[in-house]
Symmetry: C2
C-alpha cells in the first residue's frame, strides 16, 4: 500500500511538473512572439501613437483597407533609398546585439539545439546545455535574430528553449534532478510543447517528439508529451499574442478539390523537397567545416555580415523583404479572397512572378546554407518552408499558365469550365511540406503540422504523396536528416534510428583492455590509486585468480561516494581491504537490502531513488558490495553487432559487458560502436573525413 | 556490393508487397462499404428501378428535397407495423446468415480481432488467424452484420481484414513467409491501412498502428504504415464508393469558436467518456464470462436473438433506428444548414429530444455490452462514438437551453448577442471522441481520427482537454483499454505497454527446472528420446560435468531439421554421439561460417534468411554445433523483474536464459512473467478470478 501511494505521489508530481513547464513554455512563446513582431516592424517604421505598438496594433482600427491608409504608422523615411538604408542598419544592429549576447553569456544558445537535445535524450550528458542562462539568453536573442532578417527560423530554437524550461522546472524537484531517466521524460514532453507553441500545432508537437526526438517510444512518454503540449498551447491561446483568437497561423480553406492529373506536379514538388534537403545538408556541412577552420572566433562579425548581406539583397525581392511567416501566409492563400499580394494572382504579371519566385527560392537557399549554424539562435524549419513555398507557388503558376494556354489538352479535360482548375496556393502549401520533410526527414509529423497550420484537410492525400516522393529522392542521395548529420559532424555519441547490417560479431568492436577491480584483496590505497590514474566511468568486478569470473560492476561515482563517506565517518586506513563481494555474515546482518542497490551499468530508468546505506567497515574490511551492481547487462562475444546496437538503442545502457562462460572478455560502449560505424560510413560521406578526422 | 544490392532488392520487395496489400485493402473496403449500404437500405425498402440500387443511388437525381419525394424508392409496406415487422425480419435473416457462415467456415472471423492481432504482433503465433478463409468469411459477413442493425461496428473487423490481406499477400514471397519479424512489419502496416480505410483517415491509421498495435516502435515500421495507409486510402478514393468524392465521412465546418467557460461542460463529457469506458469494459467482461460458461455453442442463436431484440426495440427510437454512421453525421452537424433532422434543432422539441437522446444512450450501452463479443464480426469503435455523440448532443442541448433560460448569467457574458452561443453539434463531436478514447484508451490517435473525420480543426484544444479528462477518469477506475482486457481475459501471452514496479529479482519468477542438453557425449538415441518426451521449444546447451556452464541454445525446430536431414542423407546410428560444441578441426575445415548461424533465442528481427549448411557426420559424431546459437540473451538472477520485462517488450526474445558466473540458473519466458503478474493483479480485477482461474 505504501509503495502504491508513493507511486501515485510520484506520478502526480511528474504531471504537476509537466503542467508547470507547459504554462511557462506557453508564456515564454507568447512573449517571444510579441517582441519579435514589434522588432520586425521597427525596421520598417514606428507608431506615432506609442513606440511600444507594432504595425498591427497601431493600425488596429483601420481594417481591411489598403496599406497606405494607416496614418499613425510612420515609415522612417519618405524616400525609398532612405528606407532601405535604415532597414539594413537595423538588421546590423539586431544581429550584433544577438551575437554579442550569445558570445558573452551563453555559447550554448547558438544554433537550433535540436541535434544536441536528441543526444541528451539518448543519454549523452552536456553540462549546462539546458541551464537557466541558456534559457534566458536564447529567449532574449531570438526576437533580435528573427527581426534582423537572417534566413533562420525560431521554431528549432523554440524547442531548445522549451527543453531548458522543462529542465529548470524539473530540477527544483529532487526526485527528478537525481534521476536521468525521469529528466529525459520531462525533456521529451517539453520538446513536444516547444513545437506545439512554435507552430500552434499541439498534435504535431507530440508527433515530433515521437518521430524525431525520443529515443525510446513509450505510451507513458507520449502521454506526457500530450499533456505538456496541450497545457502550453492552451496557455498560448489564452495569452492570445496576435489578438486573432486563432491558433492556426495561416488559415486557408481550400474549398476546391484536387484532380488526379495534378499528382504528377505534386511529385515534382516532392522531388524538389528531397533534392533541396540533400543539397542544403551537403552544402551546409561544407560551410560548417569551413567555419570551424577559419571562423571559429568570428561569431559576431560573421552574424553581422550575414544579416547585412541578407538585408542588402533581400530588400529588393518582394518575397524576401517581408517576414518569412508573412510570406508563407501570402503564398498559401487562394487568389479569391484578398490573396492578391502585389499582383501575385494577376495573369498579366505571371511570368514576372515566376522570375521573382525563382529568384527568391535560389537566394533563400543560399542564405539558409550560410546562415543556419552561425553563432546566434537559428532554426531551419520555417526558412525551409518559405523556400518550398516560393518554389511550389512558382510551379503552381506555371501549371496554371499552361492550363490557360492549352485548356483543350487531354489532362485538363476533367477541369470544370466555370471553376478555377489550378490553385497555385495549394502548390505553395505542398512545396512547404516537401522542403520541411526533405531537410528534417520527418513525415507523419510534417503532415500533421501542415494540417494544423492551415486546416487544409482535403489536401491530406497530396501532402502524403509529396512526402513519399521527398523521402524516396532523399534516400536516393543517401543523406539522413540535418539533425542527424549535425550529430555526426560534431562527433556526438549517438546511434541513429536507422538499422544497418554489418554482419560482424560484437567481439570485433569491443574494447579488450578493460580496467577492472578484484572482488577481494585489494587495499584502499591501491583502489584510490587506480581511480586517480584511470579515467573510466566504472569498473567491472572480477574474481581474483586465474580466469577472471565477472562478479558485477561498480560506477566511478559510487566508488568516490563511498570512499568519501568512509573517510568522514570512519577511520579509513590505506591498507584496509576492500570487499566487493557479499560474504555470508553480511547477508545475515542485513537481510533487507534491495536486490540490486543501483544499476549504473544498465542506465535504464531508475524509478526508485537509490536508498543509500551507511557504509560498514568491520574486521578491517571496507564493504563496498552494497554499491556493486551484481546484474550488469552482459552479452556473448559472438552476438552480432546489430543486436548490440539494438540493445543500446532500445534499453539505453551506457556500457555492455562482454562475457563468455562467465569470464569477462571486454566491454563495449556507444562510442566503440560509433568508432566502428564511422569508419564503415566514411567512404560514403566525404565531409566527415575532412574535419572530424 | 552484393550485400548492398541484396538489401536494396529486399527493401524494394517489402515496399512492393505493402503497396499491393494497400491496393487490395482499399478495394476490399470499398466493396464492403457498397454492399453494407445496399443491405442496410434493403431493410427499409427497395428500388423499383433496379434491385441492385441502394436508396442513395435510386434517388440520385432527386437532391436536397424531402425524403418522401423519391418515388422510385418503395418501402416494403404502406403500414407502419408492417414496415417494423419486415425490419425485424431482415435483421433476423442477416444475423443468421452472418453467424452461420462464421460458425461453418471460419471461427476466427468472429469478434473484432484487434486483441488477437496485438498478440500476434508481439510474437504470439495463432495458426490460421490471418488466413484466407478468415479473410473471405469476415469480408462477406461484415456487411450482413452491420445491416442486421446489431450495435457493433465495422472498423475493428476492418483492421483484422486488412491484416489478413497483408498476411495473404506477403505469404506469397518466400522472404517474408520465412521471417516472423518481416511478417510483423507487414501486419503493422496493414493494420494502419485498415483504420485508414475504415475512417478515411490515413494519418489516424498510422498513429493507431503506433499507439495501439505495434509492440516496438521504429521509424521504419512507421514509414511502412504510412505507405500502406496512403495506398489504401488513395485506392479507396479512386473507387469512390459513396460517389461524393470526399474521404471525410462527416464533414462539418464549425465556423464559430468555442468559449473558455464551455471547458467545464467539455470536462463533463470527458468524464462521461472515462466512465463509459470503465463501465462497458467491466460489464462486457462479465457478459463474456457468462457467455463462455453457458452459451459456448449457441453462437448462431445468440446472434439472431440479439439482432432481433435490437431491431425490435431500436426501431422506436429515432436515433437507434437509423445507421450508426448516419446518426453520427446528423448529431455532429450544426443546426444552420440542413442539420435539423426530425426537429433536432427546434427549441420547442428540446426536452423531448433530451429524453430521446438519453434513451438512445442508455439502450445503446446495453446493446453494445451484450452484442460486442458475440460470434460474428463485431467492432466497438463506431458504437462507442454513437453513444458518445448522443450523450454529448444531450449535454449540448441542455447547455443551450440553460443559456436560453438565463442569458444574463455571468458565464454567458462572453456570448455575442447576434450569434448562436452554444453549438450542440460540437458537444456531440466531443462526446464521440470521449467515448472512443474511453473504451480504447488511445488518445493521440483519437484526436487525429476525429479531425480527419470531420475537419473540425478549431476544436483541437477542446478535443484534447476532453481526452485528458477521459484518461484521468479511466485511470481512476483502474481499467486498461478493452483490447488489453480481452487479452488478459483470454489468457494470451502478452505484456501490456504500461510499466509496473514489482521490486523483485528475476530469480523469483524464472523456471528453475530446465531441460538442457549436454554439449558432448549424448547419443542420438538419447537426444531423440528427449525431444519426444519433453515438450519445450528449445534447449540450453550446457557443459558436461559439475557446474553446468552455459554454452549456447538450440531450438527444437533446428534439432528436428538436422536430425531429419541427417537421416535422409547419411547413416545415422542410434548410438552416434551428438556434438554441440565446436572443435578445433571444425574451425579449420569451415572457416567461412557466419558468426551465428541462427538466433532463435533472440527472436529479434532476423534480417537475413538462415543459410542452411549441410550436416556433417565424421568420426561417428553428429555435428550439431552450426545450429547452436552461441550468443543467447542471458541475464543475471539478481536483475529486477521490471528490466527483464523491458527486455521482453523492447527486444522481443522468446526466451531469456538466467545465468550466474557462467552457470545456467534457469530460464524465463513471457508466460512465466505473466503467471507472476496475473497473481499480483488478480486482487484488483474480480472478473479474472471468476473465469480464468
Amino acid at each position: 500500500v505504501y509503495d502504491r501511494a508513493r507511486n501515485a505521489v510520484n506520478a502526480a508530481q511528474s504531471w504537476v511538473i509537466i503542467s508547470i513547464a507547459g504554462v511557462f513554455i506557453g508564456v515564454n512563446a507568447a512573449l517571444i512572439s510579441i517582441i519579435t513582431e514589434w522588432l520586425s516592424d521597427l525596421k520598417m517604421g514606428y507608431c506615432s501613437d506609442g513606440w511600444w505598438l507594432n504595425q498591427q496594433f497601431c493600425c488596429w482600427e483601420i481594417d481591411g483597407a489598403e496599406e497606405g491608409a494607416c496614418s499613425t504608422w510612420r515609415t522612417w523615411s519618405p524616400l525609398a533609398p532612405g528606407r532601405w538604408l535604415i532597414y539594413v542598419l537595423f538588421a546590423m544592429v539586431f544581429s550584433f546585439v544577438a551575437a554579442h549576447l550569445v558570445r558573452s553569456f551563453a555559447k550554448y544558445a547558438a544554433g537550433s539545439g535540436i541535434s544536441e537535445i536528441k543526444c541528451i535524450l539518448a543519454g549523452f550528458v552536456m553540462q549546462g546545455y539546458l541551464g537557466g542562462w541558456t534559457l534566458i539568453i536564447k529567449s532574449i536573442t531570438l526576437p533580435f535574430v528573427i527581426a534582423s532578417g537572417l534566413s533562420v527560423g525560431k521554431e528549432g530554437p523554440s524547442v531548445h528553449v522549451a527543453c531548458c524550461i522543462g529542465n529548470v522546472v524539473a530540477r527544483m524537484f529532487s526526485n527528478f534532478s537525481r534521476s536521468q531517466g525521469k529528466m529525459r521524460e520531462i525533456l521529451t514532453a517539453a520538446s513536444a510543447a516547444g513545437v506545439a507553441v512554435a507552430f500552434g500545432s499541439p498534435i504535431g508537437g507530440v508527433l515530433f517528439s515521437i518521430e524525431e526526438m525520443s529515443h525510446n517510444f513509450s505510451i507513458k512518454t507520449m502521454w506526457r508529451s500530450f499533456l505538456c503540449a496541450l497545457v502550453a498551447t492552451v496557455t498560448l491561446s489564452v495569452m492570445n499574442p496576435f489578438r486573432t483568437g486563432k491558433l492556426v497561423l495561416f488559415q486557408v480553406t481550400y474549398d476546391r478539390d484536387w484532380h488526379f492529373f495534378e499528382i504528377i506536379f505534386f511529385m515534382i514538388i516532392g522531388a524538389f523537397g528531397g533534392l533541396y534537403g540533400a543539397l542544403v545538408i551537403r552544402l551546409h556541412m561544407q560551410v560548417m567545416a569551413f567555419r570551424r577552420k577559419y571562423l571559429a572566433n568570428q561569431g559576431v562579425t560573421e552574424a553581422v555580415v550575414l544579416a547585412t548581406l541578407t538585408a542588402f539583397f533581400g530588400y529588393f525581392n518582394r518575397f524576401l523583404r517581408i517576414d518569412m511567416t508573412e510570406s508563407l501566409a501570402i503564398l498559401f492563400r487562394e487568389c479569391e479572397d484578398g490573396g492578391d499580394y502585389d499582383n501575385l494572382c494577376q495573369t498579366s504579371a505571371q511570368w514576372r512572378m515566376v522570375n521573382s519566385l525563382f529568384l527568391a527560392t535560389t537566394l533563400r537557399i543560399l542564405f539558409v546554407v550560410v546562415s543556419y549554424g552561425c553563432k546566434v539562435p537559428a532554426g531551419i524549419f520555417v526558412p525551409s518552408m518559405a523556400i518550398g513555398a516560393t518554389f511550389g507557388r512558382m510551379v503552381g503558376i506555371i501549371v496554371k499558365a499552361t492550363y490557360r494556354a492549352f485548356p483543350e489538352f487531354g489532362w485538363f479535360a476533367v477541369c470544370q469550365p466555370d471553376v478555377p482548375c489550378i490553385t497555385p496556393g495549394t502548390y505553395a502549401f505542398l512545396g512547404a511540406a516537401a522542403a520541411l520533410g526533405g531537410v528534417m526527414r520527418i513525415t507523419v509529423t510534417v503532415v500533421v503540422i501542415m494540417f494544423e497550420l492551415t486546416g487544409a484537410l482535403t489536401y491530406i492525400l497530396p501532402t502524403m504523396i509529396v512526402l513519399l516522393m521527398t523521402r524516396a529522392v532523399g534516400d536516393l542521395f543517401g543523406t539522413s536528416g540535418i539533425a542527424d548529420e549535425m550529430i555526426r559532424f560534431n562527433g556526438y555519441p549517438y546511434l541513429d534510428k536507422e538499422e544497418h547490417g554489418f554482419n560482424i560479431p560484437v567481439s570485433r568492436v569491443m574494447r579488450k583492455e578493460v580496467y577492472s577491480l578484484d572482488g577481494t584483496g585489494m587495499t584502499v590505497h591501491a583502489l584510490e590509486q587506480k581511480i586517480r590514474t584511470e579515467q573510466v566511468s566504472g569498473y567491472p568486478i572480477v574474481s581474483r585468480g586465474p580466469g577472471s569470473t565477472l562478479l558485477g560492476y561498480i560506477g566511478r561515482n559510487e566508488l568516490n561516494y563511498v570512499l568519501d563517506k568512509a573517510r568522514q565517518t570512519q577511520d579509513l586506513t590505506p591498507d584496509m581491504e576492500c570487499s566487493f563481494v557479499e560474504l555470508q555474515e553480511d547477508v545475515e546482518f542485513t537481510p533487507h537490502l534491495p536486490p540490486t542497490s543501483a544499476s549504473p551499468a544498465m542506465g535504464i530508468e531508475d524509478h526508485d531513488a537509490v536508498e543509500l546505506i551507511e557504509t560498514v567497515t568491520s574486521d578491517n574490511v571496507l564493504k563496498l558490495w552494497p554499491w556493486v551492481n551484481r546484474a550488469p547487462l552482459t552479452v556473448a562475444p559472438q552476438l552480432p553487432l546489430e543486436i548490440v546496437m539494438q540493445i543500446f538503442k532500445r534499453l539505453g545502457p551506457r556500457i555492455i559487458l562482454v562475457e563468455q562462460y562467465g569470464k569477462l572478455q571486454g566491454l563495449v560502449t556507444v562510442k566503440d560502436v560509433l568508432r566502428f560505424t564511422t569508419l564503415e560510413n566514411s567512404r560514403a560521406r566525404p565531409w566527415d573525413e575532412q574535419d572530424v578526422g
